[in-house]
Every structure is written in structure tokens, then in C-alpha cells.
């Protein structure tokens, strides 16, 4: 589903990704682990299409199509979803208004009919209930005054409603207590599907106890330096990233 070949990326003249190769199949949950500064978040932003990164070489193929020339919204319409590490607050835009706008924008891009209000409400209600999000939160400005855990749940709610085919979770566990982590992980697990792939970016192994990956990749100095099964995460938890830092340097 996702194939990244020799990706080289700079920001403000500083090289962050250094010939990165990665492949994720449909139905797979791939984890990317690595020390701070290894380029994990950059990778997620570049896949989603953030402007300020300069791609010097390589390609990102989604179902065989190179998405690097596409706008972020065009990538979203093709099923790419990035759950942000730090979801943004948008005062003055109610969460409901926002959810309806993004769902219909993607439907429009795919030439599907807009959702009727009752259908929209039904879907939001069901998804919100699953993630323990109460109606009052949905009436507030998007993410305004939400706790860290609430913001992350709101990201997963959007993921559930948009039904993306390729989901990136960028440090979704950061700032979550164990209860919030479990809710978020459950939300993700219910979305696991043979047609859907996940890229779970995390610094710690903790999240992977709850979202069990099929593959684990270790990233250092802007490239994947080791790949393995879920047991690799446990090994890293025990040994730390020190070896990889040295290797990268």
C-alpha cells in the first residue's frame, strides 16, 4: 500500500531524512521507533504533505501513485490520514461544523454525495460513544480547552469518521495516562482492517502493548536502520537507542 523509496528531505538546509526506504502492506500495522531527532515526525509530515519540507530525492507511492506532487487535501482524499502529535486548537469553529466540513470535503473529492444531517449525526454519535467523547465536547470550538487526552481522542474520532486507508499515528501516546491510552488504542484496534494500513510512530514501547504491530522499524539519522517483528520493540525497551545513535553517527 505504502512504498517509500530513497526519500531525502531537508528543512532550512538541514537534512532530516537520508535515503529512507519503507514498505507497508495493506492490513499491516507497522511501528516506527527511534530516538528523538531521528526524523520520525518529519516522515509523518512529509507523507501528509506539509509545505516547508523540501524533498530532494525519492518517492512516496500510495497504491503505486507518487503522492509527492499532491496537495495535503488531495492526499487526504486518497486515504492518507495523519493523527497529529499536537492537535491544533481552532477557536470559533465548532467541532461539529468542522467534522461535517472535512467529511463532506473528502466525499466531494471522491465524487460521492454529501452526507445528510441525520446520517452525519448518527455516525458522529456512534463513533463518539466508542471513544468516550461526550456531546458537550462536540459543541465546543475544535480542541479548544480540551485536555491532552481529549485532543488525542478527537484525532481518533476523525480517523474513525473519515475511514482513511493509510493512517499515521504520530506519537499518539505522548501526554496520555494509561486510561486515555487504552481508550485510544481500542479506538485504533477497532479500525484494524485487511484493507487498511497503519504507521504507528512512537518513542516508547508502551503504546505497542496496546496496539500490537506486525512489523517494527528502527529509525536513526533519517533512515530505517533495522526492521523486525513485534519482539524488536521489547528488545529496544530493554537496550535503549544508544547503539543506534552510535551506528547512525
Amino acid at each position: 500500500m505504502l512504498q517509500i523509496n530513497n526519500l531525502v528531505v531537508e528543512i532550512e538546509g538541514k537534512r532530516i531524512l537520508n535515503g529512507l526506504d519503507l514498505s507497508v502492506k495493506a492490513g499491516e500495522v507497522a511501528a516506527i521507533m527511534g530516538p528523538n531527532g531521528s526524523g520520525k515526525s518529519t516522515l509523518s509530515y512529509v507523507i501528509a504533505g506539509k509545505e516547508e519540507y523540501e524533498v530532494l530525492d525519492g518517492e512516496i507511492l500510495v497504491d503505486g501513485e507518487n503522492i509527492l506532487e499532491l496537495e495535503p487535501n488531495e492526499r487526504a482524499a486518497r486515504g492518507v490520514f495523519l493523527a497529529f502529535q499536537y492537535p491544533l486548537e481552532i477557536p470559533g469553529v465548532s467541532t461539529m461544523t468542522f467534522l461535517k466540513a472535512i467529511m463532506n470535503a473528502q466525499r466531494k473529492a471522491r465524487e460521492e454525495a454529501e452526507l445528510t444531517t441525520p446520517e452525519f449525526m448518527k455516525r458522529v454519535k456512534a463513533a463518539a460513544q466508542e471513544l468516550h467523547i461526550d456531546q458537550e465536547m462536540l459543541r465546543r470550538g475544535l480542541n479548544v480547552g480540551f485536555s491532552g487526552g481529549e485532543k488525542k481522542r478527537m484525532e481518533i474520532l476523525q480517523m474513525a469518521l473519515l475511514e482513511p486507508r493509510f493512517c499515521i499515528l504520530d506519537e499518539t501516546d505522548s501526554g496520555l495516562d494509561i486510561d486515555a491510552l487504552k481508550i485510544v488504542a481500542e479506538g485504533v484496534n477497532t479500525l484494524r482492517d485487511p484493507a487498511r494500513a497503519f504507521l504507528v510512530i512512537t518513542h516508547y514501547q508502551r503504546l505497542l502493548n496496546h496496539i500490537v504491530p506486525d512489523t517494527v522499524h528502527v529509525m536513526a539519522n533519517g533512515r530505517i536502520v533495522r526492521s523486525g517483528g513485534k519482539e524488536l520493540a521489547l528488545e529496544l525497551e530493554a537496550s535503549g537507542y544508544a547503539d543506534y545513535r552510535e551506528q547512525a553517527a
Binding site: 496537495e71 495535503p72 495523519l82 492537535p87 477557536p91 470559533g92 472535512i102 470535503a105
Partner: protein, 440 residues
Amino acid sequence: MAEITPIRTAAEVALVERFEDLKDKLPGSGEIARGRDEAFALIAAAGLPNRRVEEWKYTDLRSAVREAAPLAERPADAAALVDKGRAFAKVDAVRLSFANGHLVAERSDLAALPAGVTVTPLAAALAEGHPLLAEMGKVAVAKGNFALALNSAFMMDGALIKVAAGTAVDKALHLRFVNGGASPFATAPRIVILVEDGASVTVHESHEGVGTAAYQANSVVEIVAGNGTTITHARLNAEQADAIALSTLAVTLGAEAKLTSLGAVTGGSLSRHQVFLAFAGEHSSLTLGGATMLRGRQHADTTLVVDHAVPHCDSRELFKTVIDGEATGVFQGKIIVRPDAQKTDGRMMSAALLLSETATMNNKPELEIFADDVQCAHGATCGELDDDLLFYLTARGLPRAVAEALLVQAFLGEALELVEDEAVREELVARAEGWLGERT
């Protein structure tokens, strides 16, 4: 010492000639005529305000006004002109309509006014020397202001409105100004609203341009509010794109009174809306706000002077300006807290959003505080749309233009949401959406 003769622009020379020509034909004699002379003497002495005049530093009328347009006569097709107006059409209200500044009786609900409300056409009131004329010009901090003086010299029609003591007017009054013509003209309508003790009233004011020639509008609304009054005011500037539009709201607020005045500006090549407000009684509160949307080479100025002369009054100001193209926004807000005005609570905010690299905003908040037990704060911001927010929205599937529009709407919404009347609020929000929809 040699007398210095200032150099007059063509417009200034023409303005003097027009006044000399017209002064005997304008309604009113005796004291009223003397009032016109006094007002015009200010203009003749100082000329058009320009960037050397502090209050007009950012809005240079001397360079903007090339010609002084002739004062509009009552249009022959006044009713037809008014019918072209669309503003607040869906808002349930009693209407007073003005065509190029002249009251149009056949499009005004003069026979169906709510109980406790009386309306006298200004031209008739000036001719007969109506007692309510004494309510004009009461706001000290507005004295000597160019736009107000110009209106006082040339005012040709308008209305004197009285809301009787204790009346809660059950229907909004809509002052509907429709301007249009085939050749240039100037307007000078004047509205005086006396709200007696304990009365409450809602006033909507709309200004639209529907003609082909550029015009120069200069409207003045004066509100004299007694004790225990509540006044809710909303204003729309949808003037013609090539119009120069000056407008003034001058208010005296009694004790335990409440005034809210909110508005939206989308029209005019150059506009300036001035609010002069004097607190004349204790425990009163004021909310002023607005949303201004500019593009092309538009210039819009909002200038406020809030005079806290008495203790225990609150004032809140929230103005939002969105500027695209090569347009220029101006916000000047002055809060004066006089020595006796202890326990004043004043908060003023002006925020601007620049949508292009050639957009300009001039923010000038001023606090003049002479009392020592007060709370006053002001803020002014000026920025662009946040790239991170735009990325967040586009990454969720919104096309860039839609994401920008959503953020601009959210920005303006904070000011527009203060409008209490639902129908008015919906129209202003819809106009903001329409404005965004026209962005290319």
C-alpha cells in the same frame, strides 16, 4: 507678522463655493443657520483633514477627495431607488428609508410606528425649529470633528426620533440608507434618537450603494440615552465600491444604561466610521464591535473615542479586520478616563488578519487615564493566517481555499457573534461568507 494663507485644493475651494451657494436654500433659519455657519467656519479654516492632523493621520481626505460632489437633491425616483436596497430585508423591523440622504415617506412606516415612538422628518423639523433639535451636538469629545461639522453645515434631511420614557419598543427600527445616482453627489443625513429614561430600543442601520456614479456619503446618528435605557444598535456598510463614506455615531449615555453597537463593513473605496461616546451617568455599560472586510485598494477606518467622565462604567470594544489585496485598515481607539471616573473598567481589542503581502493595517489604541482606581486594557494584533492551522485543515481534506475561509470566518465570528438579533447576525455572517466566496 505676515498672514499665512494656506493653499487650498480644488475640492476645498469647491466646498466653500458650494456652501455659499447652498446655505440660504438649506432648511432652517435663525439659530439653525448660525449653527451651519459655525460648523462650516471650522471646515473653511482647517480645510480637508490630512495626514498632518493627528486624528486623520491614516485617513488623508485631502488627497482622497479630489472633487467636492454637489449635495444630492431628493431623487425623482426615490421610492424606486430605495426598492433596490437589499440590506436587512429579512429582518422584521419598522423601516425609515432614505434615498441619497432624503427621507422617503412612501417607503417608511411612519404611519405604523410602534407605541411610544415618534418620528419627525428632519427637513421639516429644521424648517420649524423643532424642540428636539436641542439634543444635537451634545457629545463634547466629538466637537470640532470634521465629518460631524461637515454634516452639521450641510445636513438636509434625516429624522428626529423620540422613544418615550419607559417604552420597551417591541419592533426594531431599521434606518435604511440607499444611495445611487448617474452623476456624482454628496449626502448629509442626520438622525437624532432621544431615548427617554427607562426605554429600550433596537436600531439597525444599513448603508448601500446601488447606482453607477461615485458618491460621498456623510451620515451622522446621534443617540441621547437617558437613565436606565437599553439600546441595541447594528450597522452595515455595504456602500458602493467607489464611494467615499464617512459616518459618525455620537452617543450620550445616562446612568444604568446599556448600549451595544456592532457592525460590519464591506463597502466603500474609502470609509471612516467614527464613534464618540460619553458616559454621563454611573453604572452604565458599552459594547462596541465590528468586522471589517477589505480587498482591492479599499481603505477603511474605524475611529473611537470613549469618554469615561463618571465612575463605575464598563466599556468593551472588539474589532476584527480582514485585509486582502492592497487594501488598508485603520483602527484608532481612544479611551479617556477622567479624574472622577473611578472604578472604570475598559477593555479594547483590535485584531487584524492580513491575507496578502500588500495589505496594510494601522492600529492605534490610546488610553488616557486620569483616575487611579480603574481597570483598563487594550490590545492590538496584526498577523497572517497560521500555516500550521492551514496544514492541519488541509491534511484533513479541506481544499486550501476552504480552509482559509473557515479560519477567516472563525476570526470574524468572534465579533459577529456578539450581535444579539438572530436575523441581523445571520445576514452579517452570510455577507462575510459571501465576501469570502468572492476571493479568488
